[in-house]
Subunit: 421 residues, 2 copies
């Protein structure tokens, strides 16, 4: 197979299909999404059989249990996929929304209309449910999608792709609206991320290695975040109870997620009041504490700590490990965040009006919070209704990315024979 | 001079200065802008003397008259620069604007806050006034700027840079908020467009060659448009008078601008009614008409025409040349636009409600108009108050880019000790 030729064909087909989809009304798009949901459920046996092929092959290749678990489908997970599609069908359609319409002194009426980006490339790893989920988000926002899943999930993804194609057909939409790359050849990814004529944006979903590789080589814009080094800063005027609750939740609610806190900053004014109690709670959960010299001193004799190295402040653990640093007030805390944050999510715990206001204005991260757990940084919690990812870039989409992040706005201008003088 | 080292230093200084500027309030930024305006006027003699050095050197190097004219400063042009700065000072400050603030079911209050992008690199050609103008737009939107003007304007740009530095100082802002690259070495541009750690976005202002070169090699996102191949489509239900007025204005109001019409599409139903009258008006202005076979037939014996070649439909003339094609209705017109448009601006002339609605929804360009001249596609005409450029990209900023296009939005989340269950 000539990969370049194959990918160019996919790109051209996607571009053509995207024009038809951009014109499709909400009813037609929702009909397709609901049809795909029904087809996934009625194809349960085929999906599980094809998934089994992937699982068998994975075991033979010696994939570890965690990876096999991510790869596995069962009745519940297939129903979950179908349910996800129906939820996306129920969301408001972002396409065609008109805003800021106003008259200019020229008497022209000028505003903005929300439109699809065009063609979106999604690159992901082992979970087959991403195939249905990503396809649905692209479709609903009026974009054609080219999907590239992990090679270990190829049979599952192709079976899901068949349901998608059938559902599109039933709703009289072109089958090429969603194309799942059929080859596991790595060169296909290289083509996908450089086909600027055919692909408008790339969304990588997966581990850091995948995302770094893609954003390093892409010529097409990428919506991504690389790291989630999130901070909670317990200010000198924090409410004791809120501080304990939020700092505990931000670390221990879930470890392997990008919005978990990785570094706790505590104002020296409240360190002896708050840190020992908090550290005991962490210790009960088995969280390893990597401490700066001052915090180690405060915790001496209370819990076991490990000395933090310079590297710790720049590490996303995604594990029951927390780095702790005592700082001298809000300026010191914000300086630490400036130096070490990945720009994902930071939260201040304070009852002080002016410090809350400063933290909100001055911390340059995709989400900035007051008295709330970083774990809330999520498209569903923010009311987006869906999430294709979280962006720590500043260009285009920032923070949790829902349907709106997969669209753009063009200007529309209504006149009555207006000419420029 | 070690260019890499020099540029890295500028980048680091810009990043540091951007943090201070991001915190500066509107009053302080406006004070700096007004101070610079005053300094430009009070430094008139120095500016003209330094500009004269550039002009002398340019003449020696044999620059043509058009280039020398763009390069030249005089009393009026310096006053124009100062006036431009005062206008930017008078615009509303986009930074800190909060929108979409609402309560979620979790009782968290969630919204978006507009923030600067950080550091903006501007690369431009001979006009020295861009130095003041671009610096002011970046400053007002809270961004530090690194400016790289044409080598032929180096003395003028450095003299303007001195006024900017002095004005920043008078307003107690860091001088590094605006840095004008002091070397004419081309490698400096290569560094600027690849310093992802220090530069958030590049805005090239100049000819197609410059923009293509930069966007081909940049690793930093670029806000740009390459071509302005704008279309006017005179529909079968167009008002005769409006059609003539708009099509004439869109071509002849100014030739060398990106929003001038380059191709006229006319529905076959009104071609014999409208084209001869319009063609005569073009001929009086000396516009060369490059016609498809059918339009050439309609104009036979009326005016001189030239047969259009395939290349004509993809050419931005920026000159008194127009390509004309007769099409079979709106679908044919939109297909031509899809194939040949650069995505800048297209206008339909029609009294038909449904066709106007379809054209607005289906044409995928940064500005889509009904019954208005393409010449209106401009930040000032759209009420943005300023314009750093026009973007034909779909990611981030699209269409005329004002202050808002130089900003981003972060999420802000207000809680009361909220933890995720």
């Amino acid at each position: 197979m000539d990969i370049k030729q194959y990918m160019t064909r996919l790109g051209q087909q996607a571009r053509q299909a995207s024009r038809v989809l951009a014109r499709a009304n909400s009813k037609q798009k929702n009909a397709a999404l609901n049809a795909i949901a029904d087809l996934l459920e009625s194809s349960m046996d085929i999906l599980l059989a094809e998934n089994n092929k992937d699982l068998e092959a994975g075991k033979e290749r010696g994939l570890d249990d965690a990876l096999l678990d991510r790869l596995a489908l069962n009745k519940e997970r297939v129903e979950g996929m179908a349910e996800g599609l129906r939820q996306i069908a129920a969301l408001p359609d972002p396409v065609g929304e008109i805003s800021d319409m106003h008259y200019q002194p020229s008497a022209l009426q000028i505003g903005k209309m929300r439109v699809p980006l065009g063609v979106i490339g999604i690159i992901y790893e082992s979970r087959p449910n991403v195939t249905a989920d990503a396809a649905a988000l692209c479709m609903k926002s009026g974009n054609a999608a080219i999907l590239r899943g992990g090679s270990e999930a190829i049979h599952s993804n192709q079976a899901i792709a068949q349901c998608i194609k059938q559902g599109l057909k039933e709703a009289s939409l072109p089958e090429d609206v969603v194309q799942v790359i059929e080859t596991t050849d790595r060169d296909a990814v290289g083509e996908l991320i450089t086909m600027q004529e055919y692909v408008d944006v790339i969304v990588p979903r997966g581990g850091k290695g995948l995302i770094a590789r893609i954003s390093g080589n892409a010529r097409v814009p990428v919506i991504k975040h690389l790291n989630g080094i999130c901070h909670v800063y317990i200010d000198g005027r924090a409410d004791h109870k809120k501080a304990i609750a939020v700092a505990y939740n931000a670390k221990t609610h879930r470890y392997g997620v990008c919005n978990a806190m990785e570094t706790l900053l505590v104002d020296t004014a409240v360190a002896t009041d708050i840190l020992p109690e908090l550290a005991e709670k962490y210790q009960q959960e088995g969280v390893e504490l990597r401490c700066c010299e001052r915090s180690a001193l405060v915790l001496e004799g209370v819990v076991n700590t490990v000395p933090a190295t310079a590297e710790d402040w720049d590490t996303e653990y995604l594990a029951p490990i927390l780095s702790i640093r005592i700082v001298d007030g809000i300026d010191d805390a914000m300086e630490h965040i400036f130096q070490h944050s990945s720009g994902h999510t930071e939260s201040i715990i304070t009852e002080d009006y002016s410090r809350a206001r400063r933290f909100l204005a001055e911390v340059d991260s995709s989400s900035v919070m007051v008295n709330a757990s970083t774990r809330f940084a999520d498209g569903f919690e923010y009311g987006l209704g869906a999430e294709i990812g979280i962006s720590t870039d500043k260009i285009h989409a920032r923070g949790p990315v829902g349907l709106e992040g997969l669209t753009s706005q063009k200007y529309i201008v209504l006149g009555d024979g207006h000419i420029r003088q």
